[in-house]
């Protein structure tokens, strides 16, 4: 059964189309330029660096979608993946 389902999903090109469209439309609708994302990235590094030492080259930031908890509707989300090298002194977490 599961194998069939998996097979079904992987062969349906329209689902691929739909997923790709949804992602590309998040960017189109938000009107977010790569420069804008870079700007946010810079600001984030500035703020977080006060509290922890982070791996700036490994920092990843992107727009994606997520399900909102209250009504399950899909909303755009800004996801940042920030690798921490070590915590800075005298910070209580």
């Amino acid at each position: 059964m599961d194998l069939f389902k998996w097979f079904n999903r992987s062969t349906s090109s329209k689902d691929i189309a739909k997923e790709r469209l949804k992602l590309v439309l998040i960017h189109d609708r938000a009107n977010v330029s790569p420069q804008f994302l870079e700007m946010i990235k810079g600001e984030l590094i500035k703020v977080i660096s006060d509290y922890m030492e982070i791996d700036e080259t490994g920092l990843e930031i992107k727009l994606t979608r997520t399900k909102r908890e209250i009504d399950d509707s899909t909303v755009p989300a800004l996801v940042a993946n920030i690798p921490i090298k070590r915590m800075k002194g005298n910070v209580n977490i």
Binding site: F4, N8, R29
Partner: protein, 268 residues
């Protein structure tokens, strides 16, 4: 005062002109007075699709520039009651008119006709801005392809930003055999993505090519499935509540395999 409807899409080649021609002809067949306006200056096509290309004397730019009176530029389609075409200029470019002039033109036409239907050029530049300037309703045409849907989404955003709220969607050239195989986005997929109201779904139909070859709108062909879809769209434009044609019997691959082996009978 008549209604001014712009037919637009963003992407080229999705069927704006064919849609304009068929909706206009359909409204005329329903007894409304209609003028079709080709707003694609420099790349006019509505005239050939309607089969009226040999009767052009004056064009839209001539009217705007005051070279002729509005009436003189309108071509009467003798096959249908109360159907007229205002052709685009072929030798000028989009900058030959501006949005204010288009607003005045469509306003003047709306005083004379029940429906003014504008065939918008592809793109989002000057020609698009001209075409939507005087419109009070918008129809967005798309096909079930990623490129067309993406552009439709952009157009919907631009329409709403210019005050044309609640544009209606026509999904053109859908191939039900491909939808059934899961190789083409279905109606729900596209409504889900674009989040606007559906005006109609037009199946891919060879008769469209045949009728365009002849310069006769497919809506007049009784046995055509696309013609039927356009007849339904026209009645919805007129405010009737017409159910959507049953093109869809959405079975996924799994369900069909299951059916093949008689697996899903257990569930029933």
């Amino acid at each position: 005062m008549g209604e001014v409807i712009v037919v637009t899409s963003g992407k080229g080649g999705v069927g704006k002109t064919t849609t304009t021609a068929n909706i206009g002809t359909g409204l005329a067949l329903k007894g409304k007075s209609v003028v079709l306006v080709d707003a694609d200056i420099g790349l006019r096509n509505l005239d050939v699709v309607m089969g009226l290309e040999n009767r052009i004397v004056y064009d839209l730019v001539d009217v705007v520039e005051g070279v002729c009176r509005q009436r003189q530029a309108l071509i009467k389609d003798k096959r249908f009651p109360n159907l007229y075409l205002l052709p685009a200029a072929q030798t000028k470019d989009k900058n030959a008119v501006n949005p204010e002039q288009m607003q005045k033109l469509t306003g003047d036409l709306a005083e004379e006709f029940d429906y003014v239907i504008l065939d918008c050029p592809a793109g989002i530049e000057q020609g698009f801005k001209n075409a939507i300037a005087g419109a009070n309703k918008a129809i967005v045409v798309t096909t079930p392809e990623v490129s067309a849907v993406r552009d439709a989404d952009r157009i919907i955003g631009l329409l709403e930003a210019s005050g044309l709220r609640n544009p209606m969607l026509i999904i053109n050239r859908i191939k039900m055999d491909m939808v059934k195989r899961g190789d083409m986005m279905n109606i729900d997929d596209m409504i889900d993505i674009l989040a606007i109201d559906l005006l109609g779904v037009v199946p891919d139909d060879d008769l469209i090519v045949v009728s365009t070859n002849r310069g006769e709108p497919v809506i007049a062909i009784e046995q055509s499935l696309a013609g039927q879809a356009y007849r339904n769209i026209v009645r919805r434009v007129l405010g009737e509540d017409i159910p959507f044609m049953n093109l869809e019997s959405e079975d996924g691959f799994f369900k069909r395999v299951a059916k093949l082996f008689g697996l899903n009978k257990k569930k029933q």
